[in-house]
């Protein structure tokens, strides 16, 4: 995870039975599923990594900007979450944010690590797994269902 890219890579277990033509479709489906599932959890104000609710929004800020709703959904103008995407790299799937929005994503995922003012003050709202971490079991279980579609 860096200022220029916040991401994780998933080694997809691809059954031998899936032929070459189907493999790309399968990987695309898994990639889109991972992104959709992450967005789904984030929209509920829940971390797709820890399963815990994100730290609630500041009371005054929520009153001013969100009609009093303190659920943090990381979706102020939508640019950062719009940038969350996947790429197929060989037999692996890269999921993350690159480019202009990566710095915002880095800040949320690390609790503003390295920020001169906000580090240690602004909450960490992690939605991208760090090295050695994974998305929630519930999300990962869905990949098994997608695999079944291709081997049934």
């Amino acid at each position: 995870m860096s200022h220029g890219e916040t991401s994780f890579t998933y080694d997809v277990p691809i059954p031998d039975i899936i032929n070459r033509d189907d493999k790309n479709k399968f990987l695309k489906k898994v990639g889109q599923y991972l992104v959709d599932s992450m967005l789904d959890k984030i929209a509920d104000g829940v971390s797709p990594v820890t399963g815990k609710p994100f730290t609630k929004l500041n009371k005054e800020y929520a009153a001013e900007e969100h009609g009093g709703d303190r659920t943090a959904i990381l979706d102020e103008h939508g640019d950062m979450l719009q940038a969350l995407t996947y790429k197929i790299v060989g037999d692996r799937i890269w999921v993350g944010i690159k480019g202009d929005e990566a710095i915002k994503s880095f800040a949320h995922n690390t609790g503003f690590k390295g920020h001169p003012v906000l580090e240690g003050k602004a909450p960490k709202r992690q939605f991208i797994p760090e090295k050695g971490e994974s998305l929630l079991k519930d999300i990962m279980a869905g990949i098994g269902d997608i695999t079944d579609e291709y081997i049934a």
Binding site: K29, Y33, L39, D40, D44, E76, G78, L81, D145, A152
Partner: protein, 208 residues
């Protein structure tokens, strides 16, 4: 606009009664729960259709229209969108916004109201406040909530039918300029996120 669900897989090792009962259970639960699941996914800004993901954000020029910064005029056979706040060589008042000049015969979205001296005036695009739901993120097809709320599920003969009753719904499924699909059509399928929920319902129906 609608989609119907049917179980097509053959269960040769299971008893016929059990299969029929389980299918019925599944269709009943799908008709009951799927509309809620789809509506909630749409409201989170995610398409329930495979391969689309998060709904596309509105273009900056469309946001300009919503915020009332753009007005439409009819000039001869052309509909011209202008940005009164942008100063051009021609002057502030009739600055043409080239990116959103509509072709002859094209229908500019929004209400046709009023008249303005020499040019016929199309007015601001939205009645005050109405378009502002579209300025919120995520893009979730919810301005008044009528369209998303019009989703319903019915058990039909040997299946479940999920439909949007609002006539606006079809414009998001390919009849508008930007596709923000809210139900699969043709060869499309539900997203894996929705399919996961359907599989859970299927497991419940066949396990109980």
């Amino acid at each position: 606009m609608s989609i119907s669900l049917k179980i097509e897989k053959k269960f040769t090792k299971l008893g016929t009664d059990f299969i029929e009962q389980s299918k019925k259970k599944f269709y009943a639960e799908a008709a009951k729960q799927l509309p809620y699941v789809i509506a909630s996914t749409i409201q989170k800004g995610i398409s329930p259709v495979e391969g689309i993901g998060r709904f596309k954000q509105y273009s900056p020029s469309y946001v300009d229209q919503i915020e009332g910064r753009v007005k439409f005029f009819r000039k001869g056979s052309k509909t011209i969108a202008i940005r009164p706040d942008i100063e051009t060589k021609q002057g502030k008042s009739i600055a043409e916004h080239s990116k959103i000049t509509y072709k002859n015969g094209a229908i500019a979205p929004g209400k046709l109201i009023g008249a303005h001296s020499k040019l016929s005036f199309k007015g601001s695009l939205f009645a005050k406040g109405l378009g502002h739901g579209k300025l919120k993120s995520p893009v979730n097809m919810t301005v008044t909530g009528v369209m998303v709320g019009s989703i319903q599920g019915d058990v039909v003969s040997n299946g479940a039918l999920i439909s949007f009753n609002s006539p606006i719904a079809k414009y998001h499924n390919g009849q508008g300029r930007v596709d923000r699909h809210i139900l699969p059509k043709g060869s499309e399928t539900f997203s894996s996120l929705i399919m996961k929920k359907l599989r859970d319902l299927l497991r419940e129906a066949f396990n109980n």
